[in-house]
């Protein structure tokens, strides 16, 4: 199935200074982006962030206002979509309703003048496990099956790049999980570059090797999923990918590789290398920590918390039992609505709303952000999506 070997760079996508404006509205600000051959790349962002426009410019369905699109060494900026070696899996699939599944999948081959398509189409339908359905019409298939037809219809052309525009958006949660694994399997099998647009941060993190988080027509941050999650550089990324507790603090002093900050009387330690903001003594900084990194101890046993951990005190405002974990919302002086996820290994029955608690975590899990940003950026967007 592998159509390209490791030395072929034909599947690289290079966007240079690409932008798109509609009248006075800028959908995509000038953007440089390189997607390496064979990678699974996700463009992640809330609706209206410019991710679909970027994808459509790669496909040729949208003409960039400035900049160029390169596939490998070829400049395809001026090529119409039907001359680009790129195929798209559309949102809600756009299967041809008047053609059966076989003809839908054969469409691209036939347009390129290939006469004997039967063997290829049957192989492709087997790859997506739809061999039995070849003579059905699209509306006779379930959502998940239609989705697989859309993938087969694009992949059979051996494109250099496969573009996926919210391909799982119309499926229910369970099927979505299944298709995520399925798509990842297919990508590994065929070795084609996948560019995947989604607003679902879990989907992006599960499937992609590299994720570009987009906001307001710009790429906020680009990196491997774990890197983005552990080291967000903006409040948008910190809030959009998972949940972050952000505390407004003031730089107290620096000692060696650590920065000591003060937040409402509590002293917290933050590794200097994990702080993306400039730090001067007395300056403001946002200190962040993920909810699952935090330990929760009842105030009566505050003495048992090991030395050297960041600690703040608060009162439990709310708890919700999720099964594998319990989510607590703790009100602290430094940060109202602090979120803490604790695995349900040994549940302390005293941790109920109203209880005084100590929150503590390893200082290495702390990150620092520029305080000049909107502390809630990315929170509302995620809820809306």
């Amino acid at each position: 199935m592998k159509t390209t070997d490791a030395t072929d760079r034909g599947g690289d996508v290079r966007l240079s200074g690409i932008s798109k404006t509609y009248g006075s509205f800028t959908a995509v600000h000038p953007l440089d982006l390189t997607v390496p051959q064979g990678s699974f790349f996700a463009l992640l962002g809330a609706s209206g962030c410019g991710k679909t426009t970027t994808l459509r410019m790669i496909a040729g369905l949208e003409e960039p206002s400035t900049g160029t699109v390169h596939l490998g060494d070829q400049d395809v900026t001026a090529l119409p979509p039907y001359k680009r070696p790129v195929n798209t899996v559309f949102q809600s699939y756009a299967l041809f309703p008047h053609l059966d599944i076989f003809e839908n999948v054969a469409f691209g081959l036939r347009r390129r003048g290939i006469k004997s398509v039967k063997k290829q189409v049957e192989e492709m339908l087997d790859l997506v496990q739809l061999g039995e359905q070849a003579r059905k019409k699209p509306h006779q298939l379930s959502g998940g099956q239609q989705q697989r037809v859309a993938v087969a219809r694009a992949l059979i052309n051996h494109p250099k790049v496969l573009l996926l525009d919210e391909p799982l958006g119309a499926l229910d949660l369970k099927l979505r999980r299944q298709m995520q694994l399925e798509l990842k399997r297919i990508q590994t099998e065929v070795g084609i570059t996948f560019v995947h647009v989604t607003h679902d941060q879990e989907e992006a993190m599960t499937m992609a090797d590299t994720v570009a988080v987009m906001n307001g027509g710009r790429v906020e941050q680009l990196g491997a999923p774990a890197d983005l999650y552990e080291n967000p550089r903006t409040t948008f990324v910190a809030n959009f990918l998972g949940t972050s507790n952000l505390i407004e603090a003031e730089v107290d002093s620096t000692s060696g590789d650590d920065i000591v900050v003060k937040a409402a009387g509590d002293k917290l330690v933050l590794p200097a290398e994990r702080c993306s903001a400039a730090t001067t003594t007395g300056g403001k900084v946002l200190v962040g920590v993920r909810p699952e990194k935090i330990g929760l101890t009842h105030a009566d046993e505050a003495g048992t918390v090991p030395e050297g951990r960041n600690r703040i005190t608060g009162k439990i405002a709310n708890t919700s039992f999720i099964g594998v974990s319990t989510q607590y919302v703790v009100d602290c002086a430094a940060c109202p609505g602090f979120e803490v996820y604790v695995q349900n290994i040994d549940r302390d029955p005293r941790l109920v709303p109203g209880a005084d608690v100590v929150l503590h975590w390893n200082p290495a899990h702390t990150f620092g952000l520029d305080a000049a940003q909107d502390i809630d950026a990315g929170v509302a967007e995620e809820e809306a999506a």
Binding site: A94, L95, F96, P97, R112, R135, K136, R153, A154
Partner: protein, 266 residues
Amino acid sequence: MTFVNWLKRNLVVIAGLLTLAYLLLPNVIVTVFSFNKPNGRFNYEWQQFSTDAWKDPCGVADMCGSLSLSLQIAFWATLGATALGTAIAFALVRYRFRARGAVNSLIFLPMAMPEVVMAASLLTLFLNMGAELGFWTVLIAHIMFCLSFVVTAVKARVMSMDPRLEQAAQDLYAGPFQTFVRVTLPIAAPGIAAGALLAFALSFDDFIITNFNAGSTVTFPMFVWGSAQRGTPVQINVIGTAMFVVAVLFVLASMVIGNRRNRRKA
């Protein structure tokens, strides 16, 4: 009491059957009287069964000539109105241009205007242009009033079409022409077919506009009207029945084909 209950349960069926009878009774009368052997020139009273008219449908002078003329005009008017109307419908749905709103409402004017007014004004127009009345003036008039019906039928279909289907076709190496032939046209086809059938029916049986603009040319509806003054040959019923049967056969054939296709797919 049981009768009332029975009535309640079957009201919808009864109403449906009565409506069907109301719609079909005239056709039944036409068919029955095509087998009549009238006394005198008028075919309005049942006398006795006969197949004379069926054996000699063109036995009335000039009737089959006018029939063939009507069929020709209906064919060309359908072709012209369908081609133009489809193009207009696509333009109105897919493109934003100046005067789009105006065109959108003006296109319905021929539908809304009283036919006799349109007929008179068309005649005035043709006379002022010095056009010779006949086949061509009738054809132009028919295309004109069929156009709005075709546009309405096709527009409804095009509006419900997902523009992403055409983008998908382009993405799959179909150029603009291939995209139109392979995707756009087949998907719009039911709307276009409905528009064309409507145009054919309207053109074939139009009397008022045709009568004003035909000059000395005589179409089938004009022939029927003209002969009704002097006597109604049974052959008119024969032609009417034949048209009805052909139409019904068309519908049945399309249903059978549709069913068979669905069954094969399932």
